[in-house]
Amino acid sequence: MSATTADAELPDEAWPEEAAAEDVPGWRDVLRAENAKLRSIFRLVTLPALGVIVVLLVGISSANQQQRFVVSVPAHIPAAQAAQIRALQLSNAPDPLGIIFGGVVLAAVLFGCFGAYCACVEYSNGMIRSTLTAVPRRGRLFGAKLTAAMLAAAPAALASILVVFWIGDALLARHLGISVGAFEGRVLLRLFGAVVCLLGATALGFAIGMIMRSTAASIVALVFVYLFLIALLGAAVSHSVQEYLAPSLLGELLYLRDGGSGQPPLAAAYPLYLAWPLVFSAAAYLRFTRSDAG
């Protein structure tokens, strides 16, 4: 038997040996396909899911603010005295904007779940085989899938953060007579940091999903990383090591805790936080490109 068919003469000219250049799909074609797929698959599932995320984010933050700023001042206290109490509360509060963003950590977990779902949905029903037959170049497909998930999450992340900020800002103005203002001080940087937190969590969730190939297992892993890892590590690792874990870095980006004890400088928090999804994405890439389709 010959070792190759490369020089074989095939019987019909309808299928030339080499495809015409205009017939060869590229990266953009694959990305367009993945975008279209996400829209077609998730039109019933994703938009409500993202809506729930936004509502939760707003709800948690609003409840947090209400509790801190409104409920704590009894209604029977005269207005002038109440204003004094609220001003005192504000002066004692560590950071009004930090309180506004109280739900962002949970939202990061939810965005991570969305990323994991984007990665795993094709493994639950055999879709991945059809996709890999259409796009057998796995590196290209991996990049397109990750990009499509991020493109879907980005508007939702931006909208969520802005909605929460405006509601929080309005509550502050209404009950305390102050406005944080998007363009004041480092507020814009913190808004940007919050969006980065959500997108980083989406990418991390996607990567974990690609590694585990199971939505449920990926969600458990994400919840563990964001909500329980530090508590479980406890005294087993030093405080300075804990500051490099994803949730600590997320907190630093949200609260701008620059220069705290044992913390990396704020400028380093962005790359360090994004290193988490990058490292996991590299592992996911290797798994996706070097193992069976599943």
Binding site: A8, P11, A14, A33, S40, R43, M127, T133, P136
Partner: protein, 242 residues
Amino acid sequence: MLAPVMESAGASKRYGRIQALDRVSLRVPAGRVTGLLGPNGAGKSTLLRLALGLDRPDAGWVRIAGRAFTEQPAPARVAGALLDGVGAHPAQSGLAYLRTLALAGRIPAERVAALLEEVGLAQAARRSVGGYSLGMRQRLGIAAALLGRPRLLILDEPTNGLDPEGIAWVHRLLREHTAAGGTAVLSSHHLAEAEASVDHVVLIKDGRVLLDGPKDELAREHGVGSLSELYLAAAAGSGAQR
């Protein structure tokens, strides 16, 4: 002898304790319908998965049109496949599913509409695939395989869930594909059903090729009149050799 469009040499694959394929070497000649035939669990689907780059062989190789499928610049025009039923998400419509594949393969959108008409799903194109019958899903999967007008058409158990009219349609499709110069691989454990379509036979059992050759020649050599008899003769010979 016609040149092979799909070829394997020493292809082996093990899943855990199961040796799914054991040094399989075969040739799928151009312009013919090759029947990849054998019982359930024989290794037919594994071979097709290796050919399409879905799984990696532990040893050996499988190539389509002279190179690994994963290295094909325009894969949809080289091979189209129906494996394990349709690969659409239940929430997707048939139209959306085919459009997605067309985008990935840089295939004109008009081809999608024409194919939906051809496979009889034009009326159901905008319905969710989750609501399709098994036969409709098979038709959609076959449409996906045909999308890029591929040289090699690979159909794994394509008649599952089809009514007699649908089965006749599949066999007619295979004939028309080869009449136009294309090549087809029909993987099936229904030997009697494959009888009508295949020109070339690869009989496979326990991950090994029992027979590989033109159907008529093999039948003559073994003095049998049907694929079922041919399989039984080959399986008996294989058992005797062991």
